[in-house]
């Protein structure tokens, strides 16, 4: 069985809980697959892992789907719980998977302190730019001007650049990709999982149901096309001026 194939990763999933709770067109299923493919391609066993997740759509990626130890905890605190587990059992590969609302908003303090401490955790942030599960409210990663249920006139605030934030706080591996860039994403996840120290991968994930439909990206394809058209690699971003970069999302490895 070739590692990373759909047939191969099926044994890493609790198939009895399928179908997933994700909405049609949600990018989190792509990310779920990408994480498992990365682990499988590395030849690692799910028995070596603890997956910690909080509250929100992103928290559902490992729990209950992964056939591994999972700890499903309170909103925002996954990194703090994971810190405790890692300290007691440093041999364990501890991976935190959460959404932008979970990790960057209510749990933002734990994110920067995990990075500052450079503790050996892998944190994967499924950033769909919205609180999806509660019905589409503004988050700290919602783009300026975007429409949400709580910003019906457009978001007046600026979003976090999570990669810059975590890099500045001291993380030793920092990367950003989208669920459209799935091969680069898998490569990055493999590096993050192998990296000793705090590794952070921000994954832009499509949410046509809660985000897209209020922002002229109603279909799953429209959201993936948005990522294709708006994401620029770091090397190209260096050649662009601020006006050209205004509506672009820079992807790649920021700290390695």
């Amino acid at each position: 069985m070739n590692p990373g194939t759909t047939t191969s990763i099926k044994r890493m999933i609790r198939q009895e809980v399928f179908p997933t709770p994700f909405c049609p067109g949600c990018g989190h299923g792509i990310l779920l697959g990408a994480i498992l493919r990365a682990i499988d391609e590395l030849g690692w066993s799910m028995d070596e892992f603890l997956f910690v997740s909080g509250i929100g759509c992103g928290g559902w990626i490992p729990s209950p789907h992964f056939a591994a130890d999972t700890l499903h905890v309170t909103h925002g605190r996954a990194i703090a719980f994971a810190t405790g587990a890692k300290l007691f059992n440093p041999e364990l590969k501890v991976v935190v998977i959460g959404g932008d609302g979970d990790l960057a908003s209510i749990g933002g303090n734990h994110l920067i302190h995990g990075a500052r401490r450079n503790i050996d955790l892998t944190v994967i942030c499924a950033n769909n730019m919205i609180y999806g599960m509660t019905g589409g409210q503004v988050t700290p990663t919602t783009p300026h001007g975007a429409y949400t249920m709580t910003t019906p006139q457009g978001n007046p605030e600026r979003p976090f650049d999570l990669c810059q934030l975590v890099a500045a706080a001291g993380a030793s591996y920092v990367a950003r990709y989208s669920v459209y860039h799935v091969r680069q994403l898998i490569r990055s996840l493999k590096r993050a999982l192998q990296h000793p120290g705090f590794s952070f991968v921000e994954v832009l994930s499509s949410c046509p149901v809660q985000y897209g439909r209020r922002n002229e990206l109603r279909s799953p394809v429209a959201m993936l096309n948005y990522f294709r058209e708006h994401c620029v690699p770091i090397s190209r971003a260096h050649t662009m001026d601020s006006a050209e970069l205004a509506d672009k999302i820079v992807i790649g490895e920021f700290v390695r």
Binding site: I106, G135, P152
Partner: protein, 398 residues
Amino acid sequence: MVESKYMPLDGANAVSQAMRQINPDVVAAYPITPQTAVVQNFSQYVADGLVDTEFVPVESEHAAMSACVGASAAGARVMTATAANGLALMWEMLYIASGMRLPIVLTVVNRALSSPLNIHCDHSDSMGARDSGWLQLYAETGQEAYDNTIKAIRIAEHPDILLPVMSCQDGFITGHGVERVGILPDEAVQEFVGTYHPKYSLLDTDHPVTMGAWDFTDYYFEHKRQQTEAMNNALPIVKQIFREYEELSGRPQSIVDMWGMDDADYAIIVLASTAGTTRTVAREWRARGIKVGVIKPRVYRPFPAQEIIEAIKNCKAVAVLDRAISFGTPLGAGPLFTDITSALYNEGITGLPVVDYIYGLGGRDTVPPMIESVYQDLQEIAATGERGALVRYLGLRE
């Protein structure tokens, strides 16, 4: 009395409508199921310019209540809403709000506390906060949630109370359930709640004050005595405000709702939406000639002991329904039960058999046959004189 306009609203939306009419100065909130709709609808009113409120969607419930405390200390009329773990995350700030005597009004759309993770209704969230110095109101219906929200403003801001108020309703059951809700005219609500004139506020530079400053062995105790005194004396004022609202709305507003209690042999005491199910069963049993009654406290903190004891003292047997466990109490009884039984003892009533039923945890449905089984148990207790198990479970599989 003014005429209400009737609209099909869910309980969350009914509270948003009340908030629109109250037009608070500041709302700071964070989304959590099943509260989200309350603030989400309200944010639409802000965007549409229907209210003058400064609305801020903050980064957590801890931040939400902190911002509310700051705004209230600065002299604003402040409202917010939450549920379950959101309320738990506010815990630290709940005591700051009541200790600073800030009249914040918080809607709680009751939901079970994790772990394990559950989004459905029980009262474990607000019951855990019952000792935090907040007044607590419980609504049976969306209509009551609307009415309580408006009354809560007057209660909190009353100069002899000056304490925050938690206005609770059952998550999903009333929070998401659409019903016919009577909405008062905007101007009637505005007149009823009036304008808030804080006695002390920050940014009043002619009268500088310090709030929350350190207060050790010298005066902390005295300040807590004042706080408990305000709570102890609140009930007559709450009653008066309920009465005024009854005159305005034409809807009965007793602090403890009584059904069939004039001559009841068997009584069930229950908070919030399950009171409706209980009354439905009680009506059928009354039609069969069995003297049953229902007691539904609308106010839980301060606890209306006198009203409840007066109503049940001549019963043959009484059941309390608790939608939360107070872990570690004798046999794991619920908070309502422990309050009622201690009140009975204090009044010197010791012969009345009272049993507790834990029900509906994590949103487990409580259906009429379960209530019938409770009345049957009460009949049996009265007939045999054997109280039996003190704490029982309704609808539990074991």
